[in-house]
Amino acid sequence: MPDVSNAAALALSLVFSGDPGLWHIVGLSLAVSLSAVMIAALIGLPVGGMLALGRFRGRDILVVIFNAAMGLPPVVVGLAVYLLLSRSGPLGFFGILFTPKAMVIAQAVLVFPIVVALSRQVIEDLWAEYSEQLRSLGSSRAASVGTLLWDGRFSLVTVLLAGFGRAAAEVGAIMIVGGNIDGFTRTMTTAIALETSKGDLPLALALGMVLLVLVIFVNAGAWGMQRVGQWLVDA
């Protein structure tokens, strides 16, 4: 059992040593996860909104499927994306397996159902309040989706944070499609997994601490923006 205070000291010395290897890992982790959330949001928010307001056959089934897909096992998603992107796979001609691009795709697939399912709930709740008013102002159902996404923007920040949390924490998917190549596709979580299996537990723990602090910073920033925005706009 490694000493936690030793690991904390190691974490601090790692951060302040200015080790370029560490900063590359940190930067790649953030870049991959934030890109994945952005892509998932661009597609997922409109899909969530349409699912909230849509009245079509099979809507309820889709809602259940997206809710269930919030719990997709990362290794399974990683494997599926691996098969798609591998040389002999249908998307093999892109040649992006074992690159950060493949990692972004895998994480976007993981985050997408979270964005759809949670934004669907947010928009549906908002629609209960807005529907008569928007219809009365001549807004079509399709146009109302956009209106609600914008008016729900503060609640939707939390949805995106849930997605970011999922992406930043997972290791199974990016390990498979990225390959944990030193200096190229190694991220915080894959490095932690590697150091743990090598037995360098203090280093693994120290990296874990850096990752936690990073996630807290991202969340604090988003929360602050959300609070200020809400205070400016809402009663």
């Binding site: 008569e132 008013q133 219809r135 009365s136 001549g138 807004s139 146009a143 914008w150 008016d151 809402d234």
Partner: protein, 237 residues
């Protein structure tokens, strides 16, 4: 300016409305032909709000039919002011611009400013609408309804939650809108307000239109016992 004849008469032919097995409106036949404001009076639960929503097109009658100016009811030609309007989470002017989807994009801002000036809120144009007082929000809602360029404006107890000064401001705007040739149909249970605004009165009780008479006659010698009781301030069972 609209020719009022385009939207009139508002004609309800044996209109009924039920929801969840409860009959809310029964067999209502009315012809609102006068250009002066029509006030829909009645105790809570009489069906006033549902009647307005049916005429506006938010609800569809379960039986009978409604027409305005011999055309089918359409949300495009009418506007409804809710008792509690929903302010979008954006600036006051953005709320008005939202309702101007039918006008040219480059004209919307100027038109929104013009409407806000007419309801006396131009100086609050860039304040978040949800930060305004209840009375101010109702005036934004009036500007928004006006922005729809309605031929008929329905109002569902718009001053029920407002103090006398805010009520006065809303009534002044309603009269200004009426003066541009827009037909006003307003539900209220405020008798003073009904006296101030009414050209004619429709009295609803328990989902039935019990009487429809010119305002003066309604307030001096109503035809029905229920309306007489209501005017005396008695509680209707």
């Amino acid at each position: 300016m609209h020719a009022p004849s385009m939207s009139l008469p508002i004609k309800l032919d044996r209109v009924g409305y039920s929801a969840g097995g409860v009959e809310i409106l029964k067999d209502i036949s009315l012809t609102l032909a006068s250009t002066s404001p029509t006030i829909v009076l009645g105790p809570n639960g009489a069906g006033k709000s549902v009647l307005l929503r049916l005429c506006h097109g938010l609800l569809t009658p379960t039986s009978g039919s409604i027409s305005t100016g011999n055309m089918n009811v359409s949300i495009e030609h009418t506007a409804l002011l809710f008792q509690r309007p929903v302010m979008l989470r954006r600036t006051t002017i953005a709320n008005v611009i939202y309702a101007l989807s039918h006008s040219e994009p480059q004209e919307r801002k100027a038109r929104a400013f013009q409407l806000l000036s007419r309801v006396g809120l131009a100086q609050l144009a860039y304040r978040p609408a949800r930060k305004l007082s209840g009375g101010e929000q109702q005036r934004v809602a009036l500007a928004r309804a006006w922005a729809r360029d309605p031929k008929i404006l329905f109002l569902d107890e718009p001053t029920a939650n407002l103090d006398p000064a805010a009520t006065r401001a809303v009534e002044d705007i309603v009269q200004e809108i009426a003066a541009t040739g827009v037909k006003i149909v307003m539900a209220t249970h405020d008798l003073g307000q009904a006296r101030r605004l009414a050209g004619d009165v429709v009295f609803l009780h328990q989902g039935c239109a019990i009487e429809h008479t010119p305002a003066e006659r309604f307030f001096n010698s109503p035809c029905s016992i229920e309306a007489a009781k209501f005017l005396r301030g008695e509680l209707l069972a």
